[in-house]
């Protein structure tokens, strides 16, 4: 390869810059791993030294005393249910809108639903607490409903644009062949818009899994319903003296997402970048 001197220098500088940056990115993970494997005394002696042995008591306490699995199950349940509901409801609505945009009803609800993009969550946060209280929905069910509701504006925005780029010929052919409207939607449209629904589901799975504000205002009072981020937040104030255990809890909270990231990197990167229009 022919490279000018300037090009070579640029390449070396790029490498140096990226390696330095990568070290900064990885540093917190390194500290989290070594600290979670050390005793308090070891950490007090030297914060950065590697653990002298595989000390697993910190993890044991997180799993047993703190009840990590309960919160993991809560988070998983809330995430899966929300994402399934989003998959069932949003593409259907977007399909109805995008095939009828010339009709007043559909045009109006299209704009109506898009309004949600412009309103930050904090604007409704406080009235929502009282409102959900009166409806007896300060529960995991209420949280799921809120996640599905807040996901809809962005999902409709992305899906309507996407479906409009898909010609209606195939569905029309299907209905001429005797398919019902729903049948044509389910068998023809859903497979066609799969790339965008995948994007939206990945995006929302990450958002629901990592969300903190909504669980904080909806679930904070009953500890057995907490999600992982909420557990982390409350765990901090309970075990502030034992930071080795705290680091163990951070590590076990990150591991599930990191595993998913390694397995589905392509979808996750695509989802987060396409969904960057979000709040």
């Amino acid at each position: 390869m022919r490279l000018s001197v300037g090009g070579k220098i640029l390449k070396v500088v790029s490498y140096a810059f990226l390696i330095l940056g990568a070290l900064i990115i990885l540093f917190p993970f390194f500290v989290t791993i070594i600290t979670s494997l050390k005793t308090q005394q070891e950490s007090a002696e030297s914060f950065f030294a590697l653990p002298s042995s595989f000390y697993l008591e910190n993890f044991k306490s997180v799993f047993q005393k703190a009840g990590y699995f309960t919160y993991f199950r809560n988070s998983a349940l809330i995430t899966i249910t929300s994402v399934v509901l989003i998959f069932l409801l949003d593409p259907m609505c977007a399909y109805g809108i995008s095939r009828n945009l010339h009709k007043p009803y559909f045009k109006i609800i299209h704009y109506y639903l898009l309004c949600g993009i412009f309103v930050p969550f904090q604007v409704v946060m406080i009235p929502l607490v009282k409102y959900l209280g009166t409806l007896h929905l300060t529960s995991q069910l209420g949280l799921i409903i809120m996640h599905v509701t807040f996901a809809s504006s962005q999902a409709i925005f992305l899906l309507v644009n996407y479906i409009r780029s898909v010609p209606p010929d195939l569905e029309e052919a299907a209905s001429i062949d005797g398919c019902t409207t729903f049948g044509a939607y389910w068998r023809v449209v859903i497979p066609l818009v799969k790339p965008m629904t995948m994007t939206i589901m990945v995006l929302n799975a990450l958002w629901v899994w990592n969300d903190f504000q909504m669980p904080l205002i909806i679930l904070n009072k009953s500890a057995e319903t907490w999600t992982l981020p909420l557990f982390q937040y409350n765990f901090k104030s309970q075990y502030t003296y034992d930071y080795n255990m705290a680091f163990a809890s951070y590590l076990v909270a990150m591991v599930p997402v990191l595993i998913v990231y390694v397995c589905a990197q392509k979808y996750i990167v695509a989802g987060l970048t396409q969904g960057a229009v979000k709040t």
Binding site: V124, M125, F182, F212, M254
Partner: protein, 304 residues
């Protein structure tokens, strides 16, 4: 062409009607959810903001715009707004500069960049709270020994514990995580530039800076616009990091508007006032987003 029979016409208009009805049904669940759990709370919020409700008391009465008057004369509110603007400006500049630099560097490398791409994107999948808590410990326990050893004054105690530096502590964490997605967007933008444009410019004798300014930048401008808007919104509504790191302290130095709203409503019994604050936040976010869109669309035209 033979005329379609009367029956066929009737059945097809019936079919159309049924199809139309099904299409309306398709949209109903989302419209109902959105109305019940988004529109109603917004309207309730507007109403609550004009009452004197403490959030706990059984009865309350309508007091008009008095809460808004209280909000606008409240020092804490302006302190929070000032914090948010300062923070947002630093955040937007930081995110744009850092992620553009990373993207340019990664784009230089060609094939060997996969490892870097994977590493640089990791923070984007993590929960803000977990990240905030980990960095909190780092600021408290990892950096002070380094600062003491190297004799760097501001590092020898926790950045977050000092009112003068706490904002920068939060900013560092936000940048650590917040550059991941913008970097990927910039890389995609850089790769959308046709190679022959650069070749043509090289033949015409353009230097690297001229090529960057006149070819690369115009291709990146739409991404910059979008990032300015989303990052601004993120900065104005910042909550998770602050709640998990400083909870607004020390001495209200990091009390962002989101934190103030939360505190007023949840622990200080000023429910109605906090709702009025959130309405003000909405107006600010709307104005700022609108202004950014206006300004950046003008800039694009000018650069052409």
């Amino acid at each position: 062409m033979s005329k379609p029979s009367a029956r066929a016409v009737a059945s097809s208009t019936n079919g159309m009607k049924r199809r139309n009805r099904v299409m309306v049904l398709f949209t109903l669940p989302v419209v109902l959810l959105f109305s019940t759990f988004f529109t109603v709370p917004v309207i309730l919020g507007v109403y609550y903001s004009m009452t004197n409700w403490t959030g706990i008391a059984k009865d309350y009465k309508f007091i008009g715009l008095r809460n808004y008057g209280n909000v606008l004369t409240d020092k804490r509110f302006w302190n929070a707004i000032f914090f948010n603007f300062k923070y947002t400006i630093c955040l937007v500049i930081g995110v744009l500069v850092l992620s553009l630099l990373i993207a340019l560097a990664i784009n230089q490398l060609g094939k060997s960049s996969t490892v870097f791409r994977t590493i640089y994107f990791i923070p984007a999948v993590l929960s803000l709270v977990t990240v905030g808590l980990i960095w909190n410990e780092l600021f408290l326990r990892a950096f002070p020994p380094i600062g003491k050893a190297l004799n760097i004054g501001f590092l020898s105690t926790s950045l977050l514990g000092n009112p003068a530096t706490a904002m920068f502590g939060i900013l560092i964490v936000n940048l650590w995580q917040g550059c991941a997605t913008p970097t990927v967007l910039f890389i995609a933008g850089l790769q959308s530039v046709p190679k022959d444009l650069y070749e043509a410019a090289t033949i015409d004798g353009a230097n690297a800076w001229q090529k960057f300014k006149n070819i690369t930048v115009p291709f990146l401008l739409p991404i910059v616009t979008m990032l300015v808007i989303t990052t601004t919104k993120g900065g104005l509504t910042i909550f998770d990091y602050i709640q998990s790191m400083t909870a607004g302290g020390p001495a209200q130095a990091t009390e962002a508007i989101g934190i103030l709203i939360y505190r007023h409503a949840m622990s200080e019994g000023k429910f109605a006032q906090s709702v009025a604050e959130s309405m003000c936040l909405f107006v600010i976010v709307a104005i700022v987003s609108f202004a950014t869109i206006k300004l950046s669309s003008k800039k694009q035209v000018g650069d052409d």
